[in-house]
Amino acid sequence: MKDCKEVRKRLSAFIDNELPPPERDLIEKHLSQCRPCRQEEISLRNINELLDSMPDEKPAPAFTSMVVHRAVAWLRCEYVKNYLYRPAVAYVLSVVSLVFYFEAGAAKKRAYPAYRHLLNFDDFPPESLSGVYVAFIQGEHR
């Protein structure tokens, strides 16, 4: 026969049907003879019933669509990442970047004479704001 302290410690497991049959029988036997322990068992079962009365939350109607949408967005990211991480793609991108870099430098050099030509434009009256500006810029480049 189990004592009250031991029985009460195992009452939750008893209620949840988690005890092996021999122990379960011992506790049932104890409960049939001990009024305070029986009372404790009833109050724990009542707690369970009270928890059953808790209302359920319903997911928002668009919940599934939102989750699937996020999954699709992740799939797209993964696809792009996997594509970019391929060695051949990385090699081509590097070459394109280098070509672009050198070509941009060359274009700048080609554009510079035209820029100078603009700076030499001296139709502005020297006292006008544009004239002062051109004089200032030319002074900087000298």
Partner: protein, 187 residues
């Protein structure tokens, strides 16, 4: 119609089948949302957690091994996320102490848990239960929710929470004792 076993559906998800993924979401959205909601007491946080769980399932579909049941795996992810959420302290964004509310505030809080057909008394009881559960220490709360609402055995819960079966038994027992203290006036 008999549902396909989850392992089969997951292998379709792993091949990128979105309709299979939709099926998984539809099967488990109710229980996951309620689990997270009862844990956090916050509808918005619960939806965030539930969405994140499904997204992780989708990402990990290729690595999924049906060694344990799919539901156990799913709720293990959810349990970890709930614990992380608590660690990040993001749950405090919407905590309310119902004993500090006036009558109007109480009814407003209770209305968050209502179904239109339920009586006011049920709504208030729902809010009180939510508060009582939320006041439990987090591990007691998780163990109780997994056992009471999701029907997991102590062994399965021990696997999810990374502790022994007797520790789970103790957590659930202490959770029930804590609820008994708080809810005795309503019994």
């Amino acid at each position: 119609m008999i549902d396909k076993p989850e392992s089969e559906v997951m292998s379709e998800v792993a091949r990128g089948d979105l309709s299979a993924f939709r099926e998984i979401v539809e099967r488990y959205q109710n229980s996951l949302l309620n689990y997270a909601h009862r844990y956090t007491g916050d509808r918005a946080a619960a939806e965030d957690i539930a969405q994140e769980v499904f997204l992780r399932v989708f990402k990990a579909a290729k690595d999924y091994q049906p060694l344990t049941s799919f539901k156990t795996w799913l709720f293990k992810i959810a349990t970890n996320l709930c614990l992380n959420e608590l660690r990040d302290n993001r749950l405090n964004r919407n905590t309310v102490d119902i004993f500090e509310l006036n009558e109007a505030g109480f009814v407003a809080l209770a209305s968050r848990y209502r179904s239109p057909e339920k009586e006011t008394e049920d709504r208030q009881l729902g809010a009180i239960l939510m508060k009582a559960i939320k006041d439990l220490p987090e591990k007691q709360r998780l163990a109780l929710l997994l056992c009471k609402y999701e029907g997991f055995s102590y062994l399965e819960i021990s696997g999810m929470m990374g502790c022994t079966v007797s520790a789970v038994e103790s957590l659930i027992h202490r959770a029930r004792q804590g609820l008994k203290k708080q809810l005795t006036p309503y019994l």
